[in-house]
């Protein structure tokens, strides 16, 4: 590598060779093989390039940057290194998604077995957290029976119609659609399967989602028509399972996991909500529903544990006020928790896209 380098600069091959020493911790391959190194520019001793990661929320972004700088600086002839960190969220398109949601890169279903575990709260905060990391995000409320997204995300204008397509309102930078927008207050949806199936198809195909890195889908509890319709209508990138720590909730959550397994939908991981309670007066911690049950269960089943969210009245207040708790940022324990969960979920998505088998090729 010294031959060209000795002419007062480094050569491209030597720089790339050095960068082969840098591995993506999630995908377990070096950044050159993965094609992350972009816009490599060498002007005598000055080297600049972009490292294009597959997630906006990489927790080790700074370490990767420092390591890249260190490795390239060590190449003979290099005087200055300029690394730009960028991201391009990956996708795995199939015939179904190309037809229905061609510009949506990833779909994440947030599911639980039991109701009342805070699924919608997790979905909302996951969406807003991903947005905070710089991704483009949509949020689809597939819980027709108890649509709560409009309340959790705060007041917004109702969706508009434009050229026979639904234009979703945008709150906190997130595009949203919910049955709640189409239903007078105090009315209920009393539908059978075929109607629910149609709704899922419309919420996907007839909503002007535009280009999205992630579409977060809040499911109703259980393993019913909506879950099945969703898994049939599109191949989901993956599902996030929300559970509270007690045995009862975990027992029911395992039914949801079994369903996704049966439908070959990747499980991105498990979130433990209402994980513990810290008294705001005395600071004493109380594990109201027990603690760590979801972590243990996910380890037993072999799925990633994405994080735990404490039981905190501030989350409830924020939710009722339509200001997702994650907006309070990383300085609150719950804000930190939601940001970390979003980061872990994004990492699992990039792994899922990397490993996911392509659907069958169908020919006439």
């Amino acid at each position: 590598m010294g031959i060209f380098g000795s002419a007062g600069g480094a050569n491209e091959a030597a720089v790339l060779q050095a960068l082969r020493g840098l591995r993506d911790p999630d995908l377990q391959q070096d950044v050159v093989t993965l094609g992350f190194v972009k816009d490599l520019n060498i002007a005598s001793g000055n080297v600049s390039f972009s490292l294009e990661l597959t997630t906006p929320a990489c927790p080790v972004k700074d370490q990767l940057k420092a390591e890249a700088e260190r490795l390239v600086s060590a190449v003979p002839g290099v005087q200055r290194v300029d690394v730009r960190m960028t991201f391009q969220v990956t996708t795995k398109q199939t015939h179904q998604t190309r037809t229905l949601i061609p510009e949506v890169r990833n779909t994440i279903a947030v599911a639980s077995g039991k109701g009342g575990v805070g699924k919608s709260t997790v979905a909302v905060n996951l969406a807003v957290a991903l947005k905070r990391y710089g991704a483009t995000v949509g949020l689809m409320d597939a819980d027709v029976y108890g649509p709560s997204i409009p309340i959790l995300m705060g007041a917004s204008d109702p969706p508009q119609m434009s050229q026979n397509r639904i234009v979703p309102p945008v709150t906190q930078g997130v595009k949203m659609i919910s049955m709640g927008y189409f239903l007078p207050k105090n009315e209920a949806v009393i539908w059978r399967g075929p109607m629910l199936h149609k709704m899922i198809q419309q919420f996907l195909g007839e909503v002007e989602w535009g280009e999205l890195d992630y579409l977060v889908i809040d499911l109703p509890p259980g393993t019913g028509d909506i879950q099945l319709s969703l898994c049939q209508t599109i191949p989901l990138t993956g599902a996030v399972i929300v559970s509270t720590p007690q045995d009862l909730a975990l027992e029911v959550a395992s039914k949801a996991i079994a369903m996704f397994k049966k439908l070959n939908t990747p499980i991105l991981g498990v979130v433990e909500n209402m994980s513990y309670y810290v008294c705001s007066h005395c600071g004493e911690r109380d594990d109201i529903f027990g603690h760590g049950g979801a972590r243990k269960a996910s380890a037993q089943l072999g799925y990633p544990f994405l994080g735990e969210v404490p039981l905190n009245s501030a989350i409830r207040t924020a939710s009722d006020n339509g200001q997702p708790a994650v907006l309070e940022g990383e300085n609150t324990p719950y804000g930190r928790a939601f940001l970390d969960i979003a980061s872990a979920t994004a990492a699992q998505i990039s792994i899922a896209n990397f490993n996911a088998p392509q659907g069958p090729v169908i020919e006439g």
Binding site: Q232, P360, V361
Partner: protein, 110 residues
């Protein structure tokens, strides 16, 4: 890993040719596939299917054929037949379960 099809050829000689990710390769005759349609209606009342040409074709049924297919999520294939039936969703697991090859038939005791 669960077996999943990698390619499906609808008009292969003798029926639908399915290649699996574990190397298994088999042709499902059209009539065989149609008779085993897993939809609720067909499970309730198995369909009458013509596998061979009708000697009196004027009023008879056409020979059954697959005319199209589509992926269903991550887990199944939906076949369209020429008798206008398309409600059967054949999960990969089910498709494998009804594999018509001698080996699999023997293994399943059919």
């Amino acid at each position: 890993m669960n077996p999943a099809p990698t390619s499906i050829k609808l008009s292969a000689p003798g029926g639908v040719l399915v290649k699996w990710n574990d190397g298994h390769e088999v042709t499902y005759p059209y009539a065989y596939l149609r008779q085993r349609c897993p939809c609720a209606t067909c499970r309730d009342t198995p369909p009458a299917v013509r596998a061979t040409p009708d000697p009196f074709p004027l009023y008879g049924k056409d020979v059954i054929r697959v005319t199209g297919a589509a992926s269903v999520g991550h887990y199944a294939i939906q076949f369209n037949f020429n008798d206008d039936h398309a409600t059967g969703i054949y999960s990969y697991a089910y498709l494998r379960e009804i594999c018509p090859c001698d080996e699999c038939r023997k293994a399943s005791g059919a």
